[in-house]
Protein backbone atom coordinates (compact mmCIF):
# COMPACT_ATOMS: atom_id res chain seq x y z
CA UNK A 1 0.00 0.00 0.00
CA UNK A 2 1.21 3.48 -0.81
CA UNK A 3 1.39 6.86 0.82
CA UNK A 4 1.09 9.83 -1.57
CA UNK A 5 2.45 13.21 -0.56
CA UNK A 6 0.78 15.89 -2.65
CA UNK A 7 1.20 19.63 -2.71
CA UNK A 8 -1.53 21.67 -4.34
CA UNK A 9 -5.25 21.13 -4.62
CA UNK A 10 -6.10 23.80 -7.13
CA UNK A 11 -7.88 23.21 -10.40
CA UNK A 12 -5.18 20.77 -11.59
CA UNK A 13 -4.23 19.31 -8.24
CA UNK A 14 -7.77 18.25 -7.42
CA UNK A 15 -7.95 16.29 -10.69
CA UNK A 16 -4.72 14.43 -9.91
CA UNK A 17 -5.84 13.85 -6.34
CA UNK A 18 -9.24 12.57 -7.40
CA UNK A 19 -7.71 10.08 -9.85
CA UNK A 20 -4.87 8.89 -7.64
CA UNK A 21 -7.00 8.58 -4.52
CA UNK A 22 -9.32 6.15 -6.30
CA UNK A 23 -6.45 3.72 -6.89
CA UNK A 24 -6.66 0.78 -4.51
CA UNK A 25 -2.91 0.71 -4.02
CA UNK A 26 -3.12 4.06 -2.26
CA UNK A 27 -4.06 3.92 1.40
CA UNK A 28 -2.76 7.22 2.70
CA UNK A 29 -2.60 10.76 1.35
CA UNK A 30 -0.93 13.79 2.84
CA UNK A 31 -2.05 17.01 1.18
CA UNK A 32 -0.43 20.41 1.58
CA UNK A 33 -2.49 23.37 0.38
CA UNK A 34 -2.52 26.86 1.90
CA UNK A 35 -5.31 28.55 -0.02
CA UNK A 36 -8.92 29.41 0.63
CA UNK A 37 -11.49 28.37 -1.97
CA UNK A 38 -12.61 31.60 -3.63
CA UNK A 39 -15.66 32.38 -5.78
CA UNK A 40 -13.42 32.82 -8.83
CA UNK A 41 -12.19 29.21 -8.42
CA UNK A 42 -15.64 27.75 -9.03
CA UNK A 43 -15.60 27.62 -12.84
CA UNK A 44 -12.43 25.52 -12.88
CA UNK A 45 -12.86 23.41 -9.77
CA UNK A 46 -14.99 20.57 -8.45
CA UNK A 47 -16.67 22.43 -5.63
CA UNK A 48 -19.75 24.66 -5.72
CA UNK A 49 -19.99 28.35 -4.95
CA UNK A 50 -21.41 27.50 -1.54
CA UNK A 51 -17.97 26.12 -0.58
CA UNK A 52 -16.29 29.51 -1.12
CA UNK A 53 -14.54 30.72 2.01
CA UNK A 54 -13.52 27.24 3.15
CA UNK A 55 -9.97 25.88 2.97
CA UNK A 56 -9.20 23.99 -0.23
CA UNK A 57 -7.30 21.39 1.79
CA UNK A 58 -10.40 20.59 3.86
CA UNK A 59 -12.67 20.47 0.82
CA UNK A 60 -10.29 18.14 -1.02
CA UNK A 61 -9.94 15.87 2.01
CA UNK A 62 -13.74 15.61 2.35
CA UNK A 63 -14.05 14.86 -1.36
CA UNK A 64 -11.66 11.93 -1.36
CA UNK A 65 -12.92 10.62 1.98
CA UNK A 66 -16.34 10.60 0.36
CA UNK A 67 -14.96 8.36 -2.38
CA UNK A 68 -12.97 6.07 -0.11
CA UNK A 69 -13.83 6.43 3.58
CA UNK A 70 -11.08 3.99 4.56
CA UNK A 71 -8.37 6.24 3.12
CA UNK A 72 -6.15 7.96 5.69
CA UNK A 73 -6.05 11.61 4.68
CA UNK A 74 -4.04 14.37 6.34
CA UNK A 75 -4.93 17.78 4.95
CA UNK A 76 -2.48 20.43 6.05
CA UNK A 77 -3.04 24.13 5.47
CA UNK A 78 0.50 25.26 4.97
CA UNK A 79 2.82 27.05 2.60
CA UNK A 80 5.44 24.67 1.30
CA UNK A 81 8.02 27.45 1.09
CA UNK A 82 7.68 28.47 4.75
CA UNK A 83 11.10 27.73 6.28
CA UNK A 84 9.51 27.35 9.71
CA UNK A 85 7.69 24.25 8.46
CA UNK A 86 10.72 22.59 6.91
CA UNK A 87 11.25 19.98 9.62
CA UNK A 88 7.59 18.99 9.69
CA UNK A 89 7.37 18.75 5.90
CA UNK A 90 10.63 16.81 5.72
CA UNK A 91 9.28 14.28 8.22
CA UNK A 92 6.05 13.88 6.24
CA UNK A 93 7.91 13.51 2.94
CA UNK A 94 10.17 10.87 4.49
CA UNK A 95 7.11 8.76 5.29
CA UNK A 96 5.69 8.84 1.75
CA UNK A 97 6.29 6.57 -1.21
CA UNK A 98 5.69 9.11 -3.94
CA UNK A 99 5.25 12.86 -4.33
CA UNK A 100 2.83 14.77 -6.51
CA UNK A 101 3.49 18.43 -7.23
CA UNK A 102 0.51 20.37 -8.52
CA UNK A 103 1.47 23.98 -7.91
CA UNK A 104 2.07 26.72 -10.43
CA UNK A 105 4.69 28.88 -8.80
CA UNK A 106 8.39 28.34 -9.25
CA UNK A 107 9.39 28.75 -5.61
CA UNK A 108 7.05 25.96 -4.52
CA UNK A 109 8.31 23.65 -7.29
CA UNK A 110 11.91 24.17 -6.20
CA UNK A 111 10.93 23.70 -2.56
CA UNK A 112 9.12 20.45 -3.35
CA UNK A 113 12.08 19.24 -5.40
CA UNK A 114 14.42 19.95 -2.50
CA UNK A 115 12.11 18.15 -0.11
CA UNK A 116 11.74 15.04 -2.27
CA UNK A 117 15.42 14.79 -3.16
CA UNK A 118 16.22 15.24 0.52
CA UNK A 119 14.26 12.11 1.35
CA UNK A 120 15.17 10.27 -1.85
CA UNK A 121 11.60 9.77 -3.10
CA UNK A 122 10.27 9.99 -6.68
CA UNK A 123 7.72 12.58 -7.67
CA UNK A 124 5.74 13.94 -10.60
CA UNK A 125 4.94 17.46 -11.73
CA UNK A 126 2.26 18.77 -14.07
CA UNK A 127 2.43 22.20 -15.69
CA UNK A 128 -0.32 23.69 -17.82
CA UNK A 129 0.92 26.24 -20.33
CA UNK A 130 -0.60 29.69 -20.38
CA UNK A 131 -3.84 29.76 -22.31
CA UNK A 132 -4.20 25.99 -21.95
CA UNK A 133 -2.39 25.41 -25.24
CA UNK A 134 -0.74 22.32 -23.80
CA UNK A 135 1.24 21.20 -20.83
CA UNK A 136 4.17 19.32 -19.36
CA UNK A 137 4.31 16.24 -17.23
CA UNK A 138 7.66 15.52 -15.61
CA UNK A 139 8.80 12.66 -13.45
CA UNK A 140 11.72 12.90 -11.08
CA UNK A 141 13.83 10.27 -9.40
CA UNK A 142 16.21 10.79 -6.52
CA UNK A 143 19.27 10.12 -8.68
CA UNK A 144 17.98 11.92 -11.79
CA UNK A 145 17.84 15.57 -12.82
CA UNK A 146 16.36 17.99 -10.32
CA UNK A 147 13.68 20.55 -11.14
CA UNK A 148 16.47 23.13 -11.59
CA UNK A 149 18.10 20.98 -14.29
CA UNK A 150 14.77 20.59 -16.06
CA UNK A 151 13.74 24.25 -15.82
CA UNK A 152 17.16 25.43 -17.00
CA UNK A 153 17.18 22.93 -19.85
CA UNK A 154 13.75 23.93 -21.08
CA UNK A 155 14.47 27.59 -20.36
CA UNK A 156 10.83 28.51 -20.65
CA UNK A 157 11.56 30.53 -23.79
CA UNK A 158 8.23 29.99 -25.46
CA UNK A 159 6.62 33.42 -25.67
CA UNK A 160 2.96 32.71 -25.99
CA UNK A 161 1.82 35.51 -23.71
CA UNK A 162 0.97 39.03 -24.77
CA UNK A 163 3.21 41.82 -23.52
CA UNK A 164 2.50 42.80 -19.96
CA UNK A 165 1.56 46.38 -19.21
CA UNK A 166 4.30 48.28 -17.42
CA UNK A 167 3.91 48.18 -13.63
CA UNK A 168 2.91 51.39 -11.91
CA UNK A 169 6.19 52.22 -10.21
CA UNK A 170 4.71 55.29 -8.59
CA UNK A 171 2.31 53.05 -6.72
CA UNK A 172 4.16 49.87 -5.75
CA UNK A 173 1.29 48.57 -3.65
CA UNK A 174 -1.20 48.73 -6.52
CA UNK A 175 -2.65 45.55 -7.95
CA UNK A 176 -0.53 44.11 -10.76
CA UNK A 177 -2.41 43.28 -13.91
CA UNK A 178 -2.66 39.55 -14.60
CA UNK A 179 -0.77 38.75 -17.79
CA UNK A 180 -1.16 35.00 -17.74
CA UNK A 181 -3.96 33.80 -19.98
CA UNK A 182 -6.18 31.48 -17.96
CA UNK A 183 -6.45 27.93 -19.16
CA UNK A 184 -9.81 26.25 -19.52
CA UNK A 185 -11.05 23.62 -17.11
CA UNK A 186 -10.86 21.07 -19.95
CA UNK A 187 -7.20 21.72 -20.74
CA UNK A 188 -6.19 21.76 -17.07
CA UNK A 189 -8.02 18.47 -16.52
CA UNK A 190 -6.32 16.89 -19.53
CA UNK A 191 -2.80 17.69 -18.37
CA UNK A 192 -3.65 16.82 -14.76
CA UNK A 193 -5.10 13.49 -15.86
CA UNK A 194 -1.88 12.71 -17.73
CA UNK A 195 0.02 13.54 -14.57
CA UNK A 196 -2.21 11.16 -12.64
CA UNK A 197 -1.50 8.40 -15.17
CA UNK A 198 2.24 8.96 -14.90
CA UNK A 199 2.00 9.10 -11.11
CA UNK A 200 0.29 5.70 -11.03
CA UNK A 201 2.91 4.35 -13.45
CA UNK A 202 5.67 5.50 -11.13
CA UNK A 203 3.80 3.92 -8.25
CA UNK A 204 3.70 0.63 -10.13
CA UNK A 205 7.37 0.98 -11.09
CA UNK A 206 6.26 0.91 -14.72
CA UNK A 207 7.83 4.31 -15.30
CA UNK A 208 11.36 2.93 -14.96
CA UNK A 209 10.99 1.54 -18.48
CA UNK A 210 10.00 4.89 -19.98
CA UNK A 211 12.66 6.47 -22.15
CA UNK A 212 11.77 10.05 -21.25
CA UNK A 213 11.67 12.27 -18.19
CA UNK A 214 9.37 14.97 -19.54
CA UNK A 215 6.35 14.82 -21.77
CA UNK A 216 4.98 17.83 -23.62
CA UNK A 217 1.44 17.45 -24.87
CA UNK A 218 -0.07 20.09 -27.13
CA UNK A 219 -3.75 20.96 -26.97
CA UNK A 220 -3.90 23.70 -29.56
CA UNK A 221 -2.23 24.73 -32.77
CA UNK A 222 -0.38 27.99 -32.11
CA UNK A 223 1.55 29.41 -35.08
CA UNK A 224 5.22 29.71 -34.23
CA UNK A 225 4.82 27.62 -31.12
CA UNK A 226 3.00 24.35 -31.80
CA UNK A 227 2.46 23.10 -35.33
CA UNK A 228 -0.38 20.81 -34.32
CA UNK A 229 -2.79 20.19 -31.53
CA UNK A 230 -2.85 16.84 -29.74
CA UNK A 231 0.78 15.96 -30.34
CA UNK A 232 3.15 14.59 -27.78
CA UNK A 233 6.86 15.29 -27.53
CA UNK A 234 9.14 13.29 -25.28
CA UNK A 235 12.27 14.69 -23.69
CA UNK A 236 14.99 12.82 -21.91
CA UNK A 237 16.55 15.54 -19.81
CA UNK A 238 19.82 14.61 -18.17
CA UNK A 239 21.15 15.72 -14.85
CA UNK A 240 23.25 18.83 -15.48
CA UNK A 241 26.82 18.65 -14.24
CA UNK A 242 26.75 22.43 -13.84
CA UNK A 243 23.52 22.56 -11.86
CA UNK A 244 24.08 24.55 -8.67
CA UNK A 245 21.25 22.69 -6.96
CA UNK A 246 21.91 19.00 -7.47
CA UNK A 247 25.40 18.67 -8.93
CA UNK A 248 27.87 17.03 -6.62
CA UNK A 249 29.99 20.06 -5.80
CA UNK A 250 31.90 18.91 -2.74
CA UNK A 251 31.16 20.86 0.39
CA UNK A 252 34.22 21.43 2.51
CA UNK A 253 32.66 19.78 5.52
CA UNK A 254 29.79 17.65 6.77
CA UNK A 255 27.66 17.41 9.88
CA UNK A 256 28.71 19.70 12.72
CA UNK A 257 31.83 20.64 10.81
CA UNK A 258 29.51 22.30 8.32
CA UNK A 259 28.45 24.80 11.00
CA UNK A 260 32.04 25.46 11.95
CA UNK A 261 33.05 25.99 8.32
CA UNK A 262 30.08 28.33 7.79
CA UNK A 263 30.91 30.36 10.90
CA UNK A 264 34.49 30.66 9.70
CA UNK A 265 33.35 31.81 6.25
CA UNK A 266 31.02 34.42 7.76
CA UNK A 267 33.80 35.64 10.02
CA UNK A 268 36.13 35.93 7.01
CA UNK A 269 33.64 37.87 4.92
CA UNK A 270 31.84 39.81 7.64
CA UNK A 271 32.23 43.42 8.74
CA UNK A 272 34.93 43.96 11.30
Amino acid sequence: MAHIFQVGAGSGGIVVLDAVARDERVDRITLIEPDVYAPHNVHRHLFPLSAAGRMKADLAAEWIKGLRPELKVDAIQADLTDPALHSMLHALAAECDLGVCAVDNEAAKFAFDSLMRGVGKPWTLGEVLSGGIGGWIHRFAADGPCYGCVASHLQRTVAEEPSAPAPDYANPQAAIAETRIPASKASISTIASLQAVMTLDVLANDATNLDFTSLLFTLARVPGVFEDAYRSYRFRIAKSAACLICSSIPAPAAGEDLDVALDQALARLGHE
Binding site: P83, A107, A111, G148, S163, A170, P250, A261
Partner: protein, 141 residues
Protein backbone atom coordinates in the same frame (compact mmCIF):
# COMPACT_ATOMS: atom_id res chain seq x y z
CA UNK B 1 14.31 25.41 2.78
CA UNK B 2 16.20 27.27 5.49
CA UNK B 3 19.39 28.69 4.07
CA UNK B 4 21.14 28.83 7.43
CA UNK B 5 19.47 25.99 9.26
CA UNK B 6 19.33 23.10 6.81
CA UNK B 7 22.12 20.96 5.46
CA UNK B 8 21.06 21.84 1.90
CA UNK B 9 21.26 25.55 2.65
CA UNK B 10 24.61 25.34 4.41
CA UNK B 11 26.09 23.21 1.64
CA UNK B 12 24.84 25.65 -0.98
CA UNK B 13 26.48 28.52 0.90
CA UNK B 14 29.78 26.78 1.44
CA UNK B 15 30.13 25.14 -1.95
CA UNK B 16 28.57 27.81 -4.20
CA UNK B 17 27.92 31.22 -2.69
CA UNK B 18 30.93 31.76 -0.44
CA UNK B 19 33.46 30.71 -3.13
CA UNK B 20 31.68 33.00 -5.63
CA UNK B 21 31.94 35.93 -3.21
CA UNK B 22 35.58 35.18 -2.43
CA UNK B 23 36.37 35.02 -6.13
CA UNK B 24 34.62 38.39 -6.62
CA UNK B 25 36.58 39.93 -3.74
CA UNK B 26 39.92 38.57 -4.93
CA UNK B 27 42.25 41.44 -5.81
CA UNK B 28 39.47 44.03 -5.47
CA UNK B 29 39.97 47.31 -3.60
CA UNK B 30 38.86 46.85 -0.01
CA UNK B 31 36.06 49.41 -0.23
CA UNK B 32 34.48 47.58 -3.17
CA UNK B 33 34.53 44.12 -1.66
CA UNK B 34 31.40 42.27 -0.64
CA UNK B 35 30.83 41.92 3.08
CA UNK B 36 28.57 39.14 4.27
CA UNK B 37 26.63 39.32 7.50
CA UNK B 38 23.98 37.20 9.16
CA UNK B 39 20.81 39.04 10.23
CA UNK B 40 18.48 36.51 11.83
CA UNK B 41 17.73 33.87 9.20
CA UNK B 42 18.91 36.15 6.39
CA UNK B 43 22.34 36.72 4.91
CA UNK B 44 23.06 40.28 3.83
CA UNK B 45 25.66 41.18 1.24
CA UNK B 46 26.81 44.79 1.63
CA UNK B 47 28.82 46.39 -1.13
CA UNK B 48 29.53 49.45 -3.23
CA UNK B 49 29.09 49.64 -7.00
CA UNK B 50 30.40 52.27 -9.40
CA UNK B 51 28.72 51.55 -12.74
CA UNK B 52 29.55 54.93 -14.32
CA UNK B 53 30.20 58.19 -12.52
CA UNK B 54 28.63 57.64 -9.15
CA UNK B 55 29.19 55.27 -6.28
CA UNK B 56 26.16 53.54 -4.80
CA UNK B 57 25.87 51.62 -1.57
CA UNK B 58 23.70 48.51 -1.87
CA UNK B 59 22.66 45.46 0.02
CA UNK B 60 21.47 42.14 -1.33
CA UNK B 61 19.48 39.94 1.00
CA UNK B 62 19.53 36.18 0.74
CA UNK B 63 16.33 35.25 2.51
CA UNK B 64 15.84 32.02 4.35
CA UNK B 65 14.16 30.58 1.24
CA UNK B 66 17.12 31.48 -1.01
CA UNK B 67 18.06 30.21 -3.62
CA UNK B 68 14.51 29.12 -4.45
CA UNK B 69 13.36 32.67 -3.91
CA UNK B 70 15.52 35.25 -5.69
CA UNK B 71 17.70 37.60 -3.68
CA UNK B 72 16.35 41.05 -2.92
CA UNK B 73 18.58 43.98 -3.73
CA UNK B 74 18.03 47.51 -2.55
CA UNK B 75 19.98 50.69 -2.99
CA UNK B 76 20.86 52.43 0.25
CA UNK B 77 22.09 55.57 -1.48
CA UNK B 78 19.11 57.91 -2.01
CA UNK B 79 17.83 57.76 -5.60
CA UNK B 80 15.45 59.86 -7.60
CA UNK B 81 12.18 57.98 -8.02
CA UNK B 82 12.40 56.10 -11.28
CA UNK B 83 11.02 53.12 -13.22
CA UNK B 84 11.87 49.67 -11.95
CA UNK B 85 12.31 50.90 -8.39
CA UNK B 86 10.02 49.35 -5.82
CA UNK B 87 9.21 50.28 -2.25
CA UNK B 88 12.23 50.77 0.01
CA UNK B 89 14.43 51.43 -3.02
CA UNK B 90 14.29 47.75 -3.87
CA UNK B 91 15.33 47.05 -7.44
CA UNK B 92 12.84 45.34 -9.72
CA UNK B 93 15.19 42.70 -11.13
CA UNK B 94 13.47 39.34 -11.52
CA UNK B 95 10.26 38.26 -13.09
CA UNK B 96 8.95 34.75 -12.67
CA UNK B 97 8.54 32.99 -16.01
CA UNK B 98 10.20 35.78 -17.95
CA UNK B 99 11.23 34.81 -21.46
CA UNK B 100 14.45 36.81 -21.08
CA UNK B 101 17.03 34.54 -19.48
CA UNK B 102 18.62 37.23 -17.31
CA UNK B 103 15.27 38.48 -16.01
CA UNK B 104 14.22 35.11 -14.71
CA UNK B 105 15.97 34.02 -11.53
CA UNK B 106 17.43 30.58 -12.07
CA UNK B 107 18.69 29.00 -8.84
CA UNK B 108 20.28 26.19 -10.83
CA UNK B 109 22.54 28.61 -12.70
CA UNK B 110 22.88 31.84 -10.77
CA UNK B 111 24.80 32.69 -7.63
CA UNK B 112 24.37 35.74 -5.42
CA UNK B 113 27.18 37.40 -7.39
CA UNK B 114 24.95 37.25 -10.48
CA UNK B 115 22.43 39.29 -8.49
CA UNK B 116 25.14 41.83 -7.87
CA UNK B 117 25.93 41.97 -11.58
CA UNK B 118 22.23 42.44 -12.29
CA UNK B 119 22.24 45.33 -9.82
CA UNK B 120 25.19 46.84 -11.67
CA UNK B 121 23.26 46.62 -14.94
CA UNK B 122 20.22 48.21 -13.27
CA UNK B 123 22.34 51.12 -12.02
CA UNK B 124 23.75 51.72 -15.51
CA UNK B 125 20.17 51.96 -16.74
CA UNK B 126 19.36 54.33 -13.87
CA UNK B 127 22.18 56.69 -14.77
CA UNK B 128 21.13 56.72 -18.43
CA UNK B 129 17.52 57.30 -17.40
CA UNK B 130 18.63 60.10 -15.08
CA UNK B 131 20.31 61.91 -17.98
CA UNK B 132 17.93 61.13 -20.82
CA UNK B 133 14.58 60.22 -19.27
CA UNK B 134 14.68 56.90 -21.17
CA UNK B 135 15.15 53.51 -19.51
CA UNK B 136 17.44 51.77 -22.01
CA UNK B 137 16.15 48.24 -21.56
CA UNK B 138 12.62 47.09 -22.41
CA UNK B 139 10.25 45.72 -19.81
CA UNK B 140 10.96 42.11 -18.92
CA UNK B 141 8.52 39.79 -20.63
Amino acid sequence: MGLLDTEFGKRRLLSVEVPAIEKYNEGRDAEFKIFLNRVGGTLVLSYLLKPCHNIYRLETRLLSSYPTVPPETRVLTPLKHCPHLLEGQTMCLWRQGSTRAVSRWDPAKFTCVFALQAAWRWLVCYEIWHDTGEWPLPEAK
